[in-house]
């Protein structure tokens, strides 16, 4: 009885997963970076669960919103440059979504 192992399959998994993750994380991070440049810093609202923990307090959220508004006011970019950065951010988010969709379609149609 001989044991054969397809080592190439493991390489395939590593390369495909690495590529997909780097594309998704890279594009999403770039989108956030551009969103910040556009003066639209994302702030998540406060969250609290009765049986668990307070994740973000109202105070934390208010502080983050205040810092975001201050950074937006002091942005050195012109309104046009900010607009371009915002468009770039949304394109990055769209590319991130397309990378996910592409990966899923590959799995469905290769099956």
């Amino acid at each position: 009885m001989s044991i054969t192992i397809d080592w190439f399959a493991f390489v395939q998994v590593f390369v495909a997963a690495m590529l997909a993750t780097v594309l998704v994380v890279g594009f999403y991070s770039l989108g956030l970076r551009l969103l910040v440049r556009a003066g639209r810093v994302p702030v998540v609202g406060p969250a609290e669960f009765t049986d668990a923990i307070t994740v973000i307090t109202v105070k934390d959220a208010q502080r983050a919103a205040k810092a975001a508004a201050k950074a937006a006011r002091k942005s050195p970019l012109t309104p046009a440059q900010r607009q371009i950065a915002a468009v770039g951010a949304y394109i990055s988010f769209a590319l991130c979504g397309l990378a996910v969709l592409g990966g899923l379609l590959l799995i469905v149609f290769n099956h």
Binding site: A9, A17, A20, T21, V24, L32, I107, V108, H111
Partner: protein
């Protein structure tokens, strides 16, 4: 013939029960992070995870085919003797799964299933009834390599996420936005869970149907009703188990920063999905744990707590042989006592399930004593409160010192 039909029904019921516990157990892996970081409300998160597990069950059937047409050599076994062995293997898997769950030991539902089946088959049908080539290449090697792969990828992704969003002034860096992103990445993890874990039960049921002569051996894909039943059961388990995770949030996950969680979940989903496409039967818990450790190490100044990491890994290594031993003992009963053995196994399973259920109710799950295994693996990485400066920060400090020196002259 009637006994065979009864055993087929029993195996299907037991396999679906295993599927349910799998969903129940693993909801926390997918959805604890977005709930903990405030990205999703618990009710929405749990419902989303359940629906995506169901969808995932339909995406690919490669893993199911690995189990139904790979691990066990159907041509080497006697069909009539083998059905009770699948039953014994399932009881071994469920017993081990519930035992480790009660004691809070790190374990893998998937490996418990493989272990139970392999142990029961070896005892009942001999060593030659197992295709070791498939076991090694599609179960054992992925078990070792997949968490490592996920860890390396999560490490790289975390570095990329921090590098792109890092700011050298004190202005907001926008990393809060990763909390929103986690809604999508954790959904992908739930989807990936459906493509891998629901498949395992489909594989067992398909194998049973082939052995019983209900399905042709040439038909590799599971029947539609099998896919549907397994998908619905795992989704139901996910939904029911979800409420437990709300209590597990007090510990562990609060140390996972949104950028880190986003990278870890992306890596987990990508590794499981690409592995599922090639038919590798993975433990999703192990892959998610590998990602959490890798992403923790991706943060500046992080070091591994080898003792904790070692304890988790020993638990993983132990699962397959331990559940194989339990499955083997159950199979011995069947081999020695025939119909009575099946009855004893069934009674044993009911007693174990009921006892563990009652014990778990007595020891209520609280934030102090409950924690998802993935969250626990996060404690294997120690992140310093004041990470060392980056190269650019060091250069800025040097420049400032030089300017001060020149100014004082």
């Amino acid at each position: 013939m009637e006994t065979a039909t009864l055993i087929v029904v029993l195996v299907i019921v037991l396999a679906l029960f295993f599927d349910f516990t799998n969903g129940f157990h693993d909801t926390a892996n997918a959805m604890a992070t977005p709930i903990a970081t405030g990205a999703l409300k618990p009710k929405v998160a749990v419902l989303l995870a359940a629906i995506l597990n169901l969808v995932g069950a339909f995406l690919s059937t490669e893993v199911s085919q690995t189990i139904s047409h790979g691990i066990i050599r159907e041509d080497e076994i006697n069909p009539n003797a083998f059905l009770p062995l699948i039953f014994a293997g399932l009881i071994g898997a469920i017993t081990w799964n519930m035992f480790t769950w009660l004691l809070g030991l790190p374990s893998s539902s998937s490996h418990a299933l493989f272990g139970g089946l392999i142990g029961a088959t070896i005892v009942g049908a001999g060593w030659m009834a197992i295709d070791y080539s498939v076991v090694l290449s599609k179960v054992i090697l992925p078990a070792v390599l997949a968490p490592l792969t996920a860890g390396i990828i999560a490490f790289t992704a975390t570095r990329i996420a921090y590098a792109i969003t890092r700011r050298y002034d004190t202005k907001p860096d926008g990393r809060d936005g990763f909390r929103f992103g986690q809604i999508f990445t954790s959904s992908l993890v739930a989807l990936a869970h459906g493509t891998n874990d629901a498949q395992k039960t489909m594989g067992v049921i398909t194998l049973t149907l082939i052995i019983a002569g209900v399905q042709s051996p040439s038909q590799t894909a599971p029947e539609l009703w099998v896919i549907l039943a397994c998908g619905i059961t795992i989704a139901l388990g996910t939904y029911m188990g979800g409420w437990r995770i709300i209590r597990t949030l007090g510990k562990g996950l609060t140390d996972v920063k949104p950028a880190q969680g986003f990278s870890a979940e992306s890596s987990t989903a990508a590794t499981i999905l690409s592995s599922s496409a090639l038919g590798f039967a993975l433990s999703t818990t192990q892959v998610a744990s590998g990602s959490v450790i890798g992403s923790g190490l991706g943060r500046r100044g992080a070091t591994v707590r080898w003792r904790t990491a070692g304890r988790i890994m020993v638990g993983w290594l132990f699962t397959l042989p331990a559940s194989a031993a339990v499955g083997g003992v159950m199979a011995v009963m069947v081999a020695w006592l025939g119909g009575w053995g099946i009855l004893i196994d069934a009674v044993f399973a009911v007693v174990v399930i009921l006892t563990i259920f009652l014990l778990s109710r007595r020891n209520a799950v609280t934030a102090a004593n409950a924690m998802s295994e993935v969250a626990e693996s996060g404690t294997a990485v120690k992140v310093t409160r004041n990470p060392p400066p980056t190269r650019r920060q060091r250069a800025a400090v040097r420049d400032e010192a030089r300017r001060e020196k020149e100014g004082s002259k």
